[in-house]
Symmetry: C2
Subunit: 438 residues, 2 copies
Amino acid sequence: MSRAHRVVIVGGGFGGLCAARALRRAPVEVTLVDRRNHHLFQPLLYQVATGGLSPANIASPLRALLKRQRNARVLLAEVVDLDLEARQLALDGDERLAYDSLVVAAGAGKSYFGRREWQPLAPGLKSLEDATAIRRRLLLAFERAEREADEARRRRLLTFVVIGGGPTGVELAGAMAEVAFRTLPGELRRVRRGEARVILVEAGERLLPAFVPPLSAAAELGLERLGVDVRCGWPVADLSPGRLHLRSAEDGREAVLETANVFWAAGVAPSPLGRRLAEQSGARCDRAGRVIVGPDCSVPGRPEVFVVGDLAHFAHGLAAPLPGLAPVAMQQGRYVARRIRDRLRRRSTPAFRYVDKGAMATIGRSLAVAEIGRFRFAGFFAWLTWLFVHLMYLTEFENRVLVLIQWGWNYVTRNRSARLITEPAADPGAEAAGRTFP
Amino acid sequence: MSRAHRVVIVGGGFGGLCAARALRRAPVEVTLVDRRNHHLFQPLLYQVATGGLSPANIASPLRALLKRQRNARVLLAEVVDLDLEARQLALDGDERLAYDSLVVAAGAGKSYFGRREWQPLAPGLKSLEDATAIRRRLLLAFERAEREADEARRRRLLTFVVIGGGPTGVELAGAMAEVAFRTLPGELRRVRRGEARVILVEAGERLLPAFVPPLSAAAELGLERLGVDVRCGWPVADLSPGRLHLRSAEDGREAVLETANVFWAAGVAPSPLGRRLAEQSGARCDRAGRVIVGPDCSVPGRPEVFVVGDLAHFAHGLAAPLPGLAPVAMQQGRYVARRIRDRLRRRSTPAFRYVDKGAMATIGRSLAVAEIGRFRFAGFFAWLTWLFVHLMYLTEFENRVLVLIQWGWNYVTRNRSARLITEPAADPGAEAAGRTFP
């Protein structure tokens, strides 16, 4: 070949970044395209949302991560369309980007099950902006309650509801319980201990459905010990300002929660790039919108196009498709990099096989549940394992010793120093002085 | 007295926080009112604006800082008006707050010398939102340049202009030069070394006018060594998108800078609360809008009302009024606390006397200028002094060992890990998936 083989990777998450890294020594030109300038360690977003960690603790600039990889460049751009025929991507600003191999690792956003109008009422947790927005709502509710004389209004302000009993919902509810029941009470004067409530609502019959029932039970018990009111079997019927309507999955009776704070951890929606890929390649998508990929993670009929991570539906030789976990994305990313290298060397590559690293979820401070192969355990040891594994991942791409220190510090002092209420507005400080007299 | 003496403090900056702390053991009820939930260490804002530190590194929740002071409470509220006759403040939400003693430490915002229309074109640096907004613009400019094929447009994107040669402008320009000339070049592929320019514009004839001329010269030399293009004697004539018009103070000739990035470090405007105070008390304000206070920092005719910090004009027995520095605010805050205690004990208090701690400014990495009493020095030792003094202040209210570590880390590795582009919009992550196809 005269010029180097051009590999374009869409998405700087676990899958895309691992693919880029694994092409380090390959005779290719790597272009990593992302809408954000940073790789985000999503599993710890809930810590940012509850003031335990700063955004910079769990995010690293993609440029810094790929700085030393001379065959890689980073483009901060939005992929607006793709043309598999012409082997080109259309980026925002009418820029076109040609590729020889394409790796689509665009991940997933939030899903409100078609009820977009719920989104402003129940912020989700997918980006750093989401996390700081949730942090802001959580802390502002307490500030308003501290100024509120009316009992009923104060109660509504101090009722926090997390929707969704998966790992994100469980971790968020647990962390919120700590802020509400341990961190803040000592700092407030009017709000009394026990006035705040944290409620975790799950539509299904148990928390953490991806785990075995005993661990679901352990999670529920752990959350209740932290003071979280867990309600399984209650799908959301409707959501309006200040009111959450639930309908029992069992007997259909209604329950209404008066609350000013609803947070969404219920569903994810794969990037629309998936369906666009399918339209053009004749590949199929599953109901959620994930692209059903071949044994080598490529799109049927398009051997040069790969899909990895949360956007991929991979089920070859498996009872169920692989879950949307970081290890899956990382392994798939490395695999397609190898596949591309092999192809350039005219070598064949065995089909992708996922090495199960197990799954874990924390339940607040010093308690977690873990399923690692045949081993299933809950408790402090599981939490240590969780901490260790997550710090390993965190340090995968960058030295994160500082996070460990800050974490240890917060753990020992029960301090949550990142409890900042910053305004979403572009530049509110600007007329700060002026604002004093509207 | 039957009930405790009520002290209301407006503003949780250096002055207000020191006043609250100094009333720790007094038989009073302290209420600290602030529009923000955090105390901000403003001298290091420029580090956040250039990705060296995280917002949480230089800000602490006011509640956490006053948690153990049982006679103090914190209100997150906006002071919309005051009534000195009735001894009451009007807060947002029609709340009224009565006081027996009032300490106004509302500080200052940004001033565009009456050209408010410049504000969106040239963001200033007063709040955390300002800092993250500037960080965003700085980093986005490089990202756009990396995608820009047109030389001229790229040049405009890579021209960064800081307006104002005071400490903030000097520190900001120096830090931006490091990002532009040291941190980023290795991470960019299309943008070549030397394409970026950092220009510091000052209307007066020299930088750091508050310091002696030799130190101004040292600062200018230091900045030029870092690659900053320093232009003194060039007041801003006009500002339009992409264009900055300067007019020479000397001969009035015009100069136009083609730039997409202008940052404002030129002026501060005391809080409008000052003029409101003056209207009601008959006190006078100086031209800037600072309240001219008596020898005990009280408002003439209102012995129970005090003004401290950037909002106060204190000149008793001095050639010039005290500058708007943290040490002045802190000393005044402690002084009025003592004054209030003494009055409750029917004791008199000698007039306020400022103990000059000197002034300092850093010029990028490992260079600073310092004026401490008769000692004037510039260089690495001044920088170490600056670092030491600032860390002392930083740890005044809270243990900030982490900041020291992160700082040391960044210093050694030349790393700026907090280089995150986060969107100002409330919750952009929300339709992230959706945004892919507008």
